[in-house]
């Protein structure tokens, strides 16, 4: 039996992507543009959160949104209706964004004229967690109907995010979702994470999130 050479393709590809992400973060820092990578399962409320967040920050920050979607433009159309510039990346089946894809979106924007860019990543809790997009911070949404066990099932996603938005709190009364248990599970993975409990439907809790984000961005722009 001859020797077998083993090559870890994925590690190589991820490390190439990580290096490109660091470079992109440096470019964004130089341009004074803050970029948020927003991740969640399909239907958790990524677009709904943006539709609550953009009007709240519109007076103070110049913003744009990069929407990733496998094969539609419905999310980008909802964003564009708010008057915020919107780029649609059609991924055609890819389950995550990497730096090379994000850069194609950024190339269509004028970074010097923008303070804050949101990337709405592909709806998926697995692959997007592995691929750094070059964003300044990663944010995730967990919606109440998805269940309080998700930190156990998708630990990487909960570990890498700077903030967790728990959306659809309006469902809590109908659900056996245990908020304390979920928080305990998340903090075991990520003690520093900020947790915001919101309902994008009623607007409850949105203020806390937008104030926190605005402070993050203004600190970054002033630095």
């Amino acid at each position: 039996m001859t020797d077998i050479k083993l090559i870890e393709v994925k590690e190589d590809i991820l490390s190439d992507n990580d290096a490109a992400a660091e470079k992109l973060r440096a470019v964004l820092k130089k341009e004074k543009t803050f970029m948020v990578n927003l991740m969640a399962s399909p239907g958790a409320g990524k677009t709904s959160l943006l539709l609550q967040t953009l009007p709240a920050l519109k007076q103070d920050l110049r913003m744009a949104v990069i929407e990733a979607d496998i094969d539609s433009m419905v999310d980008a159309e909802k964003i564009a209706a708010t008057g915020i510039e919107s780029i649609q990346l059609r991924t055609g089946g890819f389950c995550h964004l990497d730096v090379s894809m994000v850069k194609k979106g950024l190339a269509a924007l004028d970074l010097a004229a923008l303070d804050l860019i949101f990337i709405e990543n592909v709806g998926n809790l697995v692959c997007p967690a592995e691929f750094d997009t070059g964003a300044t911070i990663d944010i995730m949404i967990l919606s109440v109907p998805e269940g309080d066990d998700k930190p156990l099932k998708y630990p990487l996603m909960f570990s890498k995010c700077r903030a967790l938005i728990v959306n659809k709190t309006d469902y809590l009364s109908l659900s056996d979702f245990n908020m304390d248990l979920m928080e305990e599970r998340v903090r075991k993975l990520n003690p520093e994470i900020e947790i915001f409990k919101v309902s994008c439907k009623t607007g409850e809790g949105i203020d806390g999130w937008t104030l926190w984000l605005k402070k993050k961005v203004t600190d970054y722009l002033g630095a």
Copy 2:
């Protein structure tokens, strides 16, 4: 409503990959190394076909195999047991190979000392059909238990392959697989395709395939 810019990420990525594949084919041509990209569903018999093919060509051609697997080395171990050099690419969840991954495997081989390299692609009839690997020819296997309707469901895969190996013909007597109907469906997509009916279990039909491949390779090496 502001305008939305639409960016087709997938087309860009595929066209970058296509350009890299053309370059790799030119390198292989210069090195006089023929490369076969072998694709099929999981369990259709990719490794079994190689285990029949390698001994048949071993006297005449200097060969190596690049195995792609999501997370195991069992296929590479079977190949190595035949005494043929074997590289294992562990894709860690990726559902196809692209040129950059294949090049990582080729970098571990001495092209000047090889006439023929087989790539065993990830078991999947969708994504591997879209990503050119830089191989000289693409080959696919359809196994009888998968059914005669597969050309209707995966037309791109059947359209791009130079040869179709119909494997597990030993199951025909137990199956309602309609060989004539399947061939008709395939030839509608790809009139030039070569079709070989084999049983990797009994060895039936292997000769026709290996003679055809040997002629392809020797023509290429002599050109």
